[in-house]
């Protein structure tokens, strides 16, 4: 078995779910082929057992030949051993196929997410993004597992039909007509089942969301009340799921019945014909036992084919979403080639000009977020240049200009690597100090052993904010743009951060969107933006004295 994960998941082709699935199948061809071969071997061994049994009864028991009986018993035992070996190897191969395909999907989508960046969230909804992780990976795995077995099953049906044709053409023909008929008759049952199952899945989704909602808001409910209200709500949704589940179960029960009925009637037909031929001496009793055994065996491969049909439907939906994500191209490919010829970041639209090498504070109130996105190239209205080069044409935009907001994700994992990958411990520690996050780091277990658990949910809002700041500072970009980096910390800490931030970024270009006088007081240059335009700029003290609008926007203490 190949060790996993593989180093390079490769480049899947564009062109939709089928091409994606075919490409995936080609990458895992050895495992899939092994599943097919071994499941075929297992099924044939299983199918041949009745034949061996029939011969044993014919040539051993009925003919009263002890030697023949022993011989056919040995054949039977051999088939049993073959079946055991085949099942074992099939299982190994199908585990390898399932995991290989699921892991490769994870690798592909994780790498593509990094390439797409902000484009991903703009193109598909958060719910769909989540579905990739919760459903699609396992669905594609399921499909790959069942595909090999389905091929093996189909082949085993062919083998059995051919063998039966050899015993008696009429009996063989019955199977030849009967098997497709059984499949055709069971097919129409699948649609209502899928409808019921999707009804149950949707309601379950809503109910699970309510349960998560209750758990996430438990401190509110326990702190201020409302337990009864939400318990009633959950019960009502749970009972709706129960109703849908019961209906889905009822629909599935028809399939269970059909899976017995149609092959059972086929079996009855073969038995009846076989018995008549045996009575008239056209076939032997042993051959009759064989025919019965073959027909009875068919239940298994027919069942696998039914299973495969439903895995294919679900896997196709999953593959469509995954191949859609994999086929996306970033809105801002970052393929610019021009190096900047200076360090000024200038926005024509608002008139904001960020001077190189100094700390600029921007007071923009609720306009801060959109303006920050604009000057860092996340929205492409044009008119923003860095070092004289328009952002889309700039070489290495994302490496040069870093935007950090309070919505940025913290990732679960070792704290040190989250702050700064690599082993520059001094640089990391300096950033932690500048962000006044020493206590957060200590609480999490220190830089050597600390971890970010559950995407940082265990930290308070202020602690998360300081970790994000430390992470941004440690990256040491040419231009750092921060949006309200101190909105959730106390005044003492805010004052310290303001001072240390200025010192840490000394000589480098930094833009802070803020309304905190503590931060503004540390800035080299302050810009006031209102209605999308720069309305005043200068030093903090100077603006306080000369610009009444500015004073109103930032003054906190006095009336």
């Amino acid at each position: 078995m190949r060790e996993l994960p593989i180093d390079d998941p490769g480049e899947p082709p564009e062109g939709g779910p089928w091409r994606f699935l075919a490409w995936m199948a080609a990458r895992h061809a050895p495992a899939l082929a092994a599943v097919t071969v071994w499941s075929l071997c297992g099924m044939v061994a299983q199918a041949l057992m009745p034949a061996a049994l029939g011969r044993a009864i014919d040539e051993g028991v009925t003919a009263r030949e002890g030697g023949e009986l022993l011989r056919w018993a040995a054949v039977l035992l051999g088939l049993g051993v073959l079946l055991a070996v085949a099942r074992l190897l099939e299982h190994r191969a199908s585990v390898a196929a399932w995991l290989g395909v699921a892991y490769r999907t994870v690798q592909l989508v994780a790498r593509q997410a990094g390439r797409l960046g902000d484009t991903l969230a703009r193109r598909i909804s958060a719910g769909e993004v989540l579905a990739v992780g919760t459903n699609d990976v396992t669905r594609i795995g399921d499909l790959s597992e069942v595909a090999g077995r389905a091929v093996g099953s189909a082949l085993s049906i062919v083998v059995v039909t051919v063998v039966l044709l050899g015993i008696d053409v009429r009996l063989g023909l019955v199977l030849l007509v009967g098997v497709p008929l059984v499949l055709a008759l069971s097919g129409p049952l699948l649609a209502p089942i899928h409808r019921r199952q999707s009804e149950r899945r949707d309601l379950t989704g809503t109910m699970t969301a309510t349960a998560s909602d209750i758990v996430a808001g438990l401190r509110v409910l326990r702190g201020i009340g409302g337990e009864e209200l939400f318990e009633r709500r959950f019960r009502a949704e749970s009972q709706r799921v129960r109703g849908a589940g019961t209906r889905a179960g009822r629909a599935e029960s028809w399939l269970n019945a059909a899976a017995l009925l149609f092959p059972g009637l086929l079996l009855t037909l073969v038995t009846w014909m076989g018995a008549r031929y045996a009575a008239s001496g056209q076939i032997t009793v042993g051959q009759l036992v064989t025919c019965y055994g073959y027909a009875a065996f068919l239940v298994t491969p027919l069942w696998v084919l039914g299973e495969a049909a439903s895995a294919l439907t679900k896997g196709h939906v999953a593959a469509r979403r995954v191949s859609h994500v994999l086929g996306m191209t970033p809105d801002h490919p970052g393929a610019g080639t021009l190096p900047p010829t200076g360090g000024e970041l200038a926005d024509e639209g608002s008139g904001l000009r960020v001077r190189p090498g100094v700390l600029t504070a921007v007071v923009a109130g609720p306009e801060a977020g959109p303006l920050a996105d604009r000057i860092t190239g996340y929205t492409d209205d044009g008119g923003v240049c860095y070092g004289g080069v328009p952002l889309p044409e700039l070489a290495g935009l994302r490496r040069r200009v870093l935007l950090t907001t309070n919505e940025d994700t913290l990732f679960t994992g070792p704290l040190a690597a989250e702050l700064l990958p690599g082993d520059d411990a001094a640089r990391r520690a300096a950033a932690v100090r500048a962000a006044c996050a020493e206590d957060v780091v200590a609480e999490a277990g220190g830089l050597d052993r600390g971890r970010v658990a559950e995407a940082g949910r265990e930290f308070s809002g202020g602690q998360r904010q300081r970790l994000r700041l430390a992470r941004a500072l440690a990256a040491e970009p040419e231009v750092l743009v921060l949006v309200e980096p101190t909105s959730a910390v106390d005044a003492h800490t805010e004052a310290r951060i303001a001072g240390r931030l200025a010192a840490h970024r000394a000589g480098r270009t930094t833009v802070v969107f803020t309304s905190s006088p503590l931060v503004l007081a540390e800035a080299d240059h302050v810009v006031h933006v209102r209605g999308g335009k720069v309305v005043a700029e200068g030093g903090h003290t100077e603006l306080l004295a000369e610009a009444p609008d500015y004073r109103a926007a930032v003054t906190r203490g006095r009336e």
Partner: protein
């Protein structure tokens, strides 16, 4: 902090109660499965009659076979429908009881434990149990009945031919025991690692913007690969277990078939058995294999289900955090005496004394990590102190029943939650109130968001963090406790709005005692008194003007703030 997990005996007792809760439907389900299996088993028996005497009434026997096939199908339909109805009922009970238990968790546990563990239980463990109940239970039921009936049929057909089957029972027993002893831990690890893999993957995908902004593509790809490696190791372990167990199982099915054929064959040759007996017995033994393997291979799912159930039940095992004594507070005076509090053996409060005057607003300021939030939680009665007392009208807060406590003292922190429902229900969870009253409460907090009938929260109209904070404060207005502890409750609003909100809140809450933990000093400026908490102690206490005049650390801070 992790929540407890129930013990094995508790799980067994609960499962027993759950199964026996609906005796009627249970009996009907089992009976239907049994009848369906029985009619299925007549087919090989009838077939054996044909083999024994091919000339005998072939048409009648074939018709009988067809009839039993139809009967088996119909009974199977009814049996699966009945077991689905019963299973869904049991599942509904299970999850509803879990949510009810979660909703009764002690307040201090809820505040401290974080939601991760509980969230995992409410989604993953409930899912796992649903799978077990929907798939494993009916299949095991059918298989068990089939095995039992086939065994009985075999015994009735030819008692001596039971011997080859019984011979492999010890082999099956020992190998299965060997496997099950190792399987549970292996599958739990496997589940956990796979869940971690998907969680990390989901973080990468939802945080794609951050990944690209920081140039962490390679790091995230490596993290995914590491998680895959961990998952793969766990998968290989359980695969190894199965690789050793499955061949033993397979041979345990094949050997008795050969044994029965040989034994039966030689009995026939010696004239001790009929051809029909030998044929039927061999077919029966062959038919045992499939249901037996289903039965055994599903056993580990039962173990997994039991582990999930243990985690769901464990939620009820958290000891209560308060023991109401029935004492009634004599007045609304809140005071702390010599209060100490420790996290993991390290005291974060070193003897705090504080007397709140009814109706005053006390601002608490101080650096991060000084113990302000801890003090707030003690004053709100969420936790009890390690030493010292926090009392309301001479009664320790933890001696009050939760309902009494929260009608008198409320805590609002910066962690807010907006429920996925209408804005109205987000407010009426406090208490039922007419729309006019709800609108009035929203007016107090300066609400400019969606209307009362709008669905808010994730999946609905998304509220900004500032709006979520306003909703939390509107709830507080409705709850109308006499004492409020606000821990950075307006920190997410922009400074102007925060100040306006605090003023209008102040108007509504006139006469209420307010403890306001805040980092924005205008809150302190507007308060009646200010307490400075540094390093677990109250170091300064007085009015804003007194403290500014004193020239201590508050005065320092104030001058920085307003320069």
């Amino acid at each position: 902090m992790k929540l407890p997990v129930a013990r094995g005996a508790q799980v067994k007792a609960y499962a027993r109660r759950l199964v026996l809760r609906y005796p009627g439907p249970l009996a009907r389900t089992v009976a239907l499965h049994a009848l369906a299996t029985a009619s299925g088993l007549t087919v090989p028996w009838l077939f054996a009659q044909l083999v024994a005497d091919p000339g005998r009434r072939i048409d009648a026997v074939a018709a009988a076979i067809a009839a039993f096939v139809v009967l088996q199908a119909l009974l199977t339909r009814a049996a699966f429908a009945a077991s689905a109805a019963l299973g869904e009922r049991v599942l509904a009970d299970l999850r509803e009881e879990f949510v009810a238990r979660a909703l009764r968790l002690p307040l201090s546990t809820v505040e401290r434990a974080g939601t991760g563990d509980l969230l995992a239980r409410s989604s993953r463990d409930v899912d796992l149990l649903e799978e077990a109940v929907r798939d494993a239970v009916p299949q095991v039921l059918v298989s068990a009945v089939t095995v039992l009936f086939t065994g009985v049929a075999l015994a009735l057909t030819a008692p001596p031919l039971l011997l080859p089957v019984l011979a492999v029972v010890p082999l099956l027993w020992l190998s299965t025991r060997w496997y099950l002893r190792r399987a549970l831990r292996g599958y739990l690890t496997e589940e956990e690692r796979f869940a971690q893999l998907l969680d990390g993957f989901t973080e990468t995908v939802t945080g794609a913007r951050t990944v690209a902004a920081l140039g962490r593509e390679e790091q995230r790809a490596r993290a995914a690969d590491d998680a895959i490696r961990a998952s793969w190791t766990a998968e290989k372990y359980t695969l190894g277990l199965r690789q050793r167990w499955y061949p033993v199982l397979e041979l345990s099915y094949a050997l008795p078939v050969v044994g029965t054929l040989l034994f039966g064959g030689f009995l026939y040759l010696d004239g001790h058995a009929s051809l029909a007996q030998v044929t039927a017995a061999t077919l029966y033994v062959q038919q045992l294999g499939y249901p037996l393997s289903v039965l055994l291979m599903r056993l580990d799912e039962f173990q997994l289900g039991a582990a999930s159930l243990a985690r769901l039940l464990g939620v009820a095992d958290v000891p209560p955090d308060r023991s109401p004594t029935g004492a009634e507070p004599s007045d609304a005076r809140l005071s702390a005496r010599e209060v100490r509090y420790a996290y993991a053996d390290r005291d974060v409060l070193h003897g705090v004394d504080l007397d709140l005057r009814p109706g005053e607003t006390l601002a608490v300021v101080g650096p991060s990590g000084a113990g302000k939030s801890t003090l707030g939680r003690l004053l709100a009665g969420i936790d009890g102190p390690r030493a010292g007392r926090v009392t309301l009208g001479e009664v320790p807060l933890t001696d009050l029943p939760l309902d009494t406590l929260r009608h008198r003292i409320a805590l609002v922190t910066q962690e807010h939650h907006v429920f996925r429902t209408t804005l109205r229900e987000n407010l009426t969870l406090v208490r039922d109130a007419p729309d006019e009253e709800l609108r009035a409460a929203l007016d107090v907090v300066g609400w400019a968001g969606p209307g009362l009938d709008e669905v808010v929260g994730s999946g609905g109209h998304t509220l900004s963090p500032a709006q979520a904070q306003q909703v939390a404060l509107a709830r507080l207005v409705l709850a109308d406790p006499h004492t409020l502890v606000l821990d950075e409750a307006t920190s997410l609003l922009d400074p102007g709005a925060a100040r306006a909100l605090e003023r209008s809140l102040g108007a509504v809450l006139r006469g209420r005692t307010v403890v306001a933990i805040a980092h924005r000093l205008h809150t302190a400026h507007d308060a009646d008194r200010v307490a400075v908490v540094e390093d677990g102690r109250v170091t300064e206490l007085g009015t804003h003007d007194e403290l500014v005049a004193r020239g201590g650390s508050y005065a320092d801070l104030w001058s920085t703030w307003t320069r």
